[in-house]
């Protein structure tokens, strides 16, 4: 396609970035306090679960699969970690030990659903859609079993302190302090910079981006998504690779569940269900192809930012949040349509 005008090409290639800018401009005008340090942090804070789940989904989608279980695994890990913390505190441990031990245990348990999906996809050649749906159903059932359907009580307040802490605080006269809120007189403003959970998420996402983009593991992931047969012939152990991919996906979802537990000092099975749609939409807006072989973590993060800004912006502009779903659906369709009209710009397919 040599005939397309320069402008169309420009817009087609960068529509997601331009769309994000447009959103920011619009919401800065119509939203109350959107364009501020606080506004930005709310956007990012809301985004933490989404960033993690969408990163999980990116790895799976690049292999040409889909992971329907991420939301359920997130709920599962929120319930498990909350139950573990509560049980350990009840057994007489200090809150800090309990939280640390529970997080470690949950991270290990959280790998199980991923290993099950990976086994089904890699070894038994089950379509990822069905494999992860089955895993999701099983995990959701177990979460309901453990939580009795409601919220898990008994998580110490320390969790909340950790979950809602900031990386940096600044107060007049006290300067910066890391992780600990400075003691100030009543009425003095403390500026909070970077929620801790966001910092953790950012570190994980950066590592994930590095793994997908710069390592042999990442290359193999693209190879499998591009042409599984070719990958097999090139000597890639795809069974093991799928196992790792789905375990990785479950790991990110588990982390999101733990963060949920820390932020809300509770765990419930539905903690992540509403993020499934958003996470897939985020990945697709970010330029990944559901046919596999294309997609980047940074593209996904961009896609998630579009959704996160939309959610927060609509709320600050006083629009009922349920209109968000209409917008998300339309953006998703828009994203694929642009993908159809500018395929050579976004990713190459035959």
């Amino acid at each position: 396609m040599t005939r397309k005008s320069g402008f169309a090409t420009f817009v087609g290639q960068r529509w997601a970035v331009l769309f994000l800018c447009l959103e920011v401009v619009v919401f800065s005008i119509v939203g109350q306090g959107f364009f501020s340090l606080n506004g930005v942090q709310i956007v990012l804070f809301y985004g933490t679960s989404l960033f993690l789940l969408a990163t999980a989904e990116t790895f799976v989608i690049v292999t040409g699969g889909i992971d329907l279980s991420v939301g359920f695994v997130m709920g599962f890990s929120a319930v498990i970690s909350a139950r573990l913390v509560a049980a350990m505190v009840l057994a007489g441990m200090t809150p800090l030990t309990a939280i640390i031990l529970a997080i470690i245990a949950t991270l290990a348990i959280g790998l199980l659903p991923g290993l099950l999906s990976g086994f089904l996809v890699g070894r038994l050649k089950v379509t990822s859609f069905l494999a992860t749906f089955a895993t999701g159903g099983i995990v959701y059932g177990i979460s309901l079993l453990l939580s009795g359907g409601g919220e898990t009580k008994g998580v110490p307040d320390l969790a909340n302190v950790i979950g809602n802490s900031y990386f940096l605080y600044w107060a007049r006269g006290k300067g910066f302090s890391i992780f600990t809120r400075p003691e100030v007189a009543r009425g003095t403003r403390v500026i909070e910079i970077l929620p801790s959970m966001l910092v953790i998420t950012a570190v994980v996402v950066i590592v994930a981006a590095f793994v997908l983009n710069r390592t042999r593991f990442g290359r193999h992931t693209y190879a499998i998504g591009g042409n599984e047969d070719a990958a097999v012939r090139a000597g890639i152990n795809i069974r093991r690779h799928y196992l790792v991919i789905y375990a990785l996906s479950a790991f990110f979802a588990t982390l999101a569940g733990i963060i949920y537990m820390l932020e809300y000092i509770t765990g419930k099975p539905d903690a992540g269900t509403s993020f499934l749609l958003d996470s897939i939409v985020g990945v697709v807006i970010g330029g990944a192809s559901l046919y596999g072989g294309a997609g980047t973590v940074w593209g996904t993060i961009l896609g998630c930012l579009i959704l996160s800004v939309l959610e927060t912006g609509l709320r600050m502009a006083g629009v009922p949040t349920f209109d968000k779903f209409i917008a998300v659906g339309l953006i998703l369709i828009l994203a694929v349509l642009i993908d159809q009209f500018f395929p050579e710009l976004i990713h190459k397919e035959d």
Binding site: I66, L68, L120, L124, K125, V126, T127, F129, L130, A131, F133, A134, T135, G136, G137, I138, Y140, G141, I142, S143, L144, L145, G149, D270, T273, S274, L277, I280, V281, V284, L290, Y291, P320, F322, D323, K324, F325, I326, A327, V328, G329, L330, L332, I333, V336, L337, Q340
Partner: protein, 366 residues
């Protein structure tokens, strides 16, 4: 040639006996499950309970039938649960607005209900058209197209119901039809009647009433026969299989595949919309089926458990019926056995895995 590795399997009598069992494992499984529940569940075989199973399976069946056509055509429709919710709210909203006096006109219940049904169907038709056109004309993958429609339908549903509040104050006749039976017998008066308890039935006698054939059963049977016929004996059905088996073959055989795909998704949405309308009749209100109940996933699971494949080209109405009954009888039986409902999710997941693995062991050649 992408997949010619499927070498023709030789037929020997022993392997074909295994294959018959393998291909029909769902029927055997259903039978075994029923037998187990007869012995372990309280009143599983009671007439009332059997009718409850039918009654509560009506909407699941319609959603699974919708999904059957789409899956045979090698697609997926993630929106059925939300289209059902959308249709529920639109239908109930229209009935309420016309029936209530708030606009100064008080329409008769019958007219309000009829218009409500039409509105519900039109709303779902719009969803189906949107999915179908996106998929066939713009070549958007079905997964994404129906996911987008899902989001939009969900948003409109929340909008129309002020964020998910049930729409109440609907005419009582709705539940009288929706929860009614075809045949009533009053053993005290020795009288029987159709569609309503015999005249003169007093309050205390209601408990004694014998009710047979829930209206839902009749409706289910009608749709079962209609859709079975459509899939098995018509050009539409044959072309659905062909498109799912090989899009190329269908195109070269002169089938208008674009139009056909639109029709498949419209049919799917209309069946989902109908499920929503029936939901209004059964509950007597416009109660949106909330997120997290994963209706579309259970519908897909039922179709796959019945033996269809996400790779398209296979599936049957009767198999889907079995799939739906496996899931709904399991839910019912587990409840009666005193097991809590979360096992439904776990068991569905496990059965689904079994279904897929069995399907791979016994390729479908006949």
């Amino acid at each position: 040639m992408a997949d010619n590795s499927l070498a023709p399997a030789p037929f020997s009598s022993r392997s074909s006996a295994m294959a018959i069992f393998g291909r029909n494992w769902a029927v055997f499984f259903l039978l075994v499950m029923v037998v187990v529940f007869i012995f372990t569940g309280k009143n599983f075989l009671a007439l009332a309970n059997l009718q409850t199973i039918i009654y509560s399976a009506t909407t699941s069946l319609l959603l699974a039938f919708a999904e059957t056509f789409v899956i045979i055509a090698r697609g997926i429709d993630l929106s059925v649960g939300y289209v059902m919710g959308f249709s529920t709210i639109v239908c109930a909203g229209v009935i309420r607005d016309l029936y209530a006096t708030q606009f100064g006109v008080h329409w008769p219940a019958g007219v309000a209900i009829a218009l409500g049904i039409v509105a519900g169907l039109v709303a779902s038709l719009a969803c189906g058209l949107a999915s179908g056109i996106l998929i066939s004309r713009f070549r958007v993958p079905p997964f994404i197209a129906t996911l987008g429609v899902l989001g939009v339908a969900y948003g409109f549903t929340l909008h129309a119901s002020d964020g998910g509040f049930p729409i109440a104050f609907l005419p009582n006749v709705l539940t009288e039809i929706g929860n009614g039976y075809v045949y009533y017998y009053n053993p005290v008066l020795h009288a029987y009647s159709f569609f309503a308890p015999p005249a003169g039935t007093t309050g205390p006698q209601i408990k004694e009433l014998v009710r047979l054939f829930p209206n839902a059963l009749i409706l289910t049977l009608v749709f079962l026969v209609l859709l079975w016929h459509l899939l098995k004996n018509t050009r539409f059905g044959q072309h659905t299989y062909a498109i799912g088996g090989s899009m190329d073959a269908a195109v070269r055989a002169g089938i208008d595949t674009r139009r056909h795909l639109v029709q498949v998704y419209v049919l799917s949405a209309l069946l989902a919309g109908l499920a929503g309308i029936i939901w209004v009749f059964q509950t007597g209100q416009g109660n949106f089926v909330p997120m997290g109940s994963n209706l579309e996933l259970f519908a897909i699971a039922a179709v796959i458990i019945g033996g269809a494949s996400l790779n398209g080209g296979k599936g049957r109405i009767m198999s889907t019926l079995i799939g739906v009954f496996i899931i709904s009888i399991m839910a019912n039986g587990l409840t009666l056995t005193g097991v809590e409902t979360f096992w439904r999710f776990i068991a569905t997941g496990v059965i689904l895995i079994v279904a897929i693995v069995v399907d791979q062991l016994f390729p479908d050649l006949l």
